[in-house]
């Protein structure tokens, strides 16, 4: 590895006498090696999974746009990258190549893939776990380390149980990353979020099939820009300390706490997936430590970025989260701006999801309170994207106080867009 990741820590390291919770925002930025230094194409593999269930026929534009989007994504795949396209129904089968392996991208294979995609016919049901299992075995047929999939569906996972889907997701975790897209409004946000979260990808709604091609091409561009695979956030904590949580907070909120793997006597690893050049993400780490005396200093966490190499784990960068006990209240009561900001952004995502769930259950009082709080948080933090999405679901009476009324008629697509994009955060102004 030529250049290091930078790791910046934003925190108030001063704790009051007896204080035990240490909060920090960790900003990780990968080296900006520029477009001149892409990884060797041979190290990347891409699979596009398109829903070919019967419902993709209605309206007819859905399968047509899905084919066009897949073709657009195939065009973005760089020469030398191993790739495939899978048709998903109540089972899964390759569209291209047909030998259950991966093809190496060049003009010829890209052309053949697009030709095969154009002939893909929608028929059958939906068993997304099967799709993931096929992608898994096809990825493992090739030695590439940067493995990424795009999964498109228009419906619910009707032809297998949630447990079957769960098992398939577990199988794929750590093997490839997966960006999920739902087209139309007949799919389940929770289902796709479950996949994209576990497989370190994004999830979004594409309400109108005509938007698919641009979205697919953009996702593939991002995937082609990835340079370092399998990066983990390693957190060392002192003895007798507990890591309360580790959350990615930008660009989207993703709680990683449950994704912990022990990597040393006092260290645990959290997966972050692959990184592109000059990519920047923020993490919120909260550690509970045993208080020390006034004037004493403790290292509350050592946060490093680690990638696996053939010769063992390599540390790409690290930052220190410190704790200093003071009896000066002016110091210990100061709240770090970044910590406050992202605490608010995480709450914003949570109250939106809770508010929408309450609305679905017919609990209008809770829905109004939660979505009102969301409006206030979005307003305070300058999260305009989320504020706009909220305004399609509630009538805002006063944004600052969070006074809202639920809209009587809400477009399904607007509600699903708010749900899928609720985790998107804005960064603090530097």
């Amino acid at each position: 590895m030529s250049a290091d990741f930078t790791v910046e820590i934003a925190q108030n390291e001063y704790l009051p006498v007896g204080g035990e919770d240490v909060n920090a925002i960790v900003t990780v930025t990968s080296p900006d090696t520029g477009p001149a230094a892409p990884v060797n194409g041979r190290d990347s593999a891409e699979i596009i999974i398109i829903d070919c269930s019967g419902s993709m026929r209605s309206p007819r534009t859905k399968i047509e746009q899905a084919r066009a989007a897949t073709a657009a994504a195939v065009d973005v795949i760089r020469d030398g990258v191993a790739f495939a396209v899978i048709a998903g129904t109540n089972k899964a089968q390759p569209i291209f190549p047909l030998d259950y392996g991966l093809a190496i991208a060049d003009d010829q294979t890209r052309f053949l893939a697009k030709q095969a995609v154009a002939e893909a016919l929608p028929r059958g049901g939906t068993a997304i776990g099967q799709w993931l299992r096929l992608a898994h075995s096809m990825f493992l047929s090739h030695p590439a380390t940067l493995r990424h999939a795009i999964l498109l569906t228009d419906g619910r996972n009707e032809h297998e149980t949630p447990e079957q889907l769960g098992e398939a997701i577990s199988l794929c975790e750590g093997v490839f990353s997966c960006d999920c897209r739902g087209v139309g409004t007949d799919w389940e946000v929770g289902e796709l979020r479950r996949i994209s979260s576990a497989l370190l990808g994004t999830v979004d709604i594409v309400p109108d099939p005509s938007g698919l091609a641009a979205d697919f091409a953009a996702m593939m561009e991002t995937a082609m820009g990835k340079q370092v695979a399998d990066v983990s956030l390693r957190v060392w904590t002192p003895q007798h300390a507990t890591l309360q949580f580790v959350k990615q907070v930008a660009p989207v909120v993703e709680d990683l706490t449950g994704r912990r793997t022990q990597s040393g006597p006092q260290a645990s690893d959290y997966p972050t997936g692959a990184w592109g050049a000059g990519e920047s993400r923020d993490y919120h780490v909260c550690v509970r430590v045993t208080p020390a005396g006034v004037g004493q200093e403790m290292l509350a966490a050592r946060v490093s970025l680690v990638t696996a190499t053939p010769s063992g784990p390599e540390v790409l960068g690290q930052g220190l989260v410190r704790a200093l006990w003071t009896d000066d209240e002016a110091l210990s009561t100061r709240i770090n701006g970044s910590v406050a900001h992202y605490t608010g952004q995480a709450e914003l995502a949570q109250v939106i999801q809770e508010g929408l769930e309450a609305r679905k259950q017919g609990d209008e009082d809770t829905a109004t309170a939660k979505l009102g709080r969301a409006v206030a948080l979005a307003e305070q933090s300058g999260n305009e994207g989320t504020a706009k999405l909220l305004a399609k679901v509630v009538d805002v009476v006063d944004a600052a106080s969070g006074t809202v009324r639920l809209k009587k008629k809400v477009d399904d697509a607007d509600e699903m867009a708010l749900d899928t994009r609720s985790t998107k955060t804005v960064r603090t102004k530097k």
Binding site: P238, Q239, A292, Q296, M298, L299
Partner: protein
């Protein structure tokens, strides 16, 4: 100034016993340095066991690998006493480590006893500022000491000392990582006739006269945003310190130094008094020369070590927001008393 010239260095080499000249840097026979300079923190106490949990793994950045507690560094608080001059350095209350360093030495020059001192303050925004300040004082004091002993021109020697510090820091640089190690610099060579000062950055020298009247003044002018605004007559000194970015230094030693030559000045003390060298950890709380004289006199005339400790305590009690280093040397410099042991560090 008619004191009997007494040799500052022992007449025989303490290592091999061979007769040596007072102006020798090293014993001709065994190469032992005869009156070495003392440097704060060049022999850091390398703890091998955590004093809190007794684990035996201390990380390179000074934390216990088990309980996470910061293991006190040998540089947190140091007092150097050479007799004719003394210095105290302290990490202060807010910083995690002491990035200041000082080096002190005594010598016998052509005009009689001389004392010399270097104070450097590692630039916090650079990489490894603590190593930078230490490397700078070590390199500079060696050149100063050799120059004084050899009766070189002191202004030239001072410039050569800065060049040596500059070279030492360039050697610490890891190109490509950015923010190369850097430090401010102030040195003084005080003979029985004059004080030769040399500086880059905002570490300062003051003259604190003990005569009647307000005989106290700042001898250096800061290379800082505030210092430049004051020098240009744009703002008053009191107002300048409140400006945002006032403390940003505009001169330093280090691989990315702006390259301006160091300032050199010669000051002829009008009478008895004390020379003070300090980092901004002290003068932030009392920039005024008369105010500093009020704190340091008359104690510093007879007890430079005790008084340096008093000044450090003053800065700690005022807030201790930065590392603090104070060096005091009474004028005229006196020779080492025969019973004064070779330089020690405690």
């Amino acid at each position: 100034m008619t004191a009997e010239p007494e040799p500052a260095a022992p007449a025989v080499c303490p290592n091999c016993g061979r007769a040596v000249s007072a102006t020798d840097n090293f014993c001709e026979a065994c190469r032992t340095e005869l009156a070495p300079a003392v440097v704060s923190g060049d022999a850091p106490v390398t703890a091998t066991e955590c004093p809190f949990c007794h684990a035996e793994q201390i990380t390179a950045d000074g934390y216990c690998e088990s309980c996470g507690r910061r293991v006190p560094s040998g540089r947190d608080h140091l007092e150097l006493d050479l007799g004719p001059l003394a210095g105290v350095t302290d990490k202060g209350l807010r910083h995690a480590r002491n990035e200041d360093a000082m080096a002190l030495a005594t010598a016998e020059s052509a005009t009689g006893p001389a004392v010399l001192a270097v104070v450097c303050d590692g630039v916090s925004s650079s990489r490894r500022p603590d190593e930078a300040s230490l490397a700078a004082v070590q390199a500079a004091v060696r050149v100063l000491l050799a120059g004084v002993r050899a009766d070189e021109d002191l202004a030239e020697t001072s410039r050569a000392a800065v060049a040596a510090a500059q070279q030492a820091l360039a050697g610490l640089d890891e190109p490509g990582l950015g923010d190369p190690p850097s430090a401010t610099f102030v040195s003084a060579v005080m003979t029985t006739e004059a004080v030769t000062l040399c500086w880059l950055g905002d570490s300062r020298a003051y003259w604190l006269g003990s005569g009647t009247g307000s005989d106290a003044k700042q001898l250096t002018r800061d290379d800082s945003v505030a210092g430049e605004l004051v020098a240009a007559g744009l703002v008053s000194e009191a107002d300048a310190m409140d400006l945002p970015g006032a403390h940003v230094v505009t001169g330093w030693v280090g691989a990315d130094s702006p390259g301006a030559p160091p300032h050199v000045a010669t000051f002829t003390p009008p009478g008895p008094g004390v020379l003070l060298l300090c980092s901004d950890g002290l003068w932030n709380y009392q920039p005024d020369a008369a105010g500093l004289a009020g704190l340091a006199l008359p104690g510093a005339l007879g007890d430079p070590l005790g008084t340096a400790a008093v000044l450090v305590k003053f800065a700690l009690e005022a807030g201790g927001a930065d590392n603090i280093t104070v060096v005091l040397a009474p004028f005229p410099p006196r020779a080492l008393e025969p019973e004064e042991k070779p330089p020690n560090e405690r």
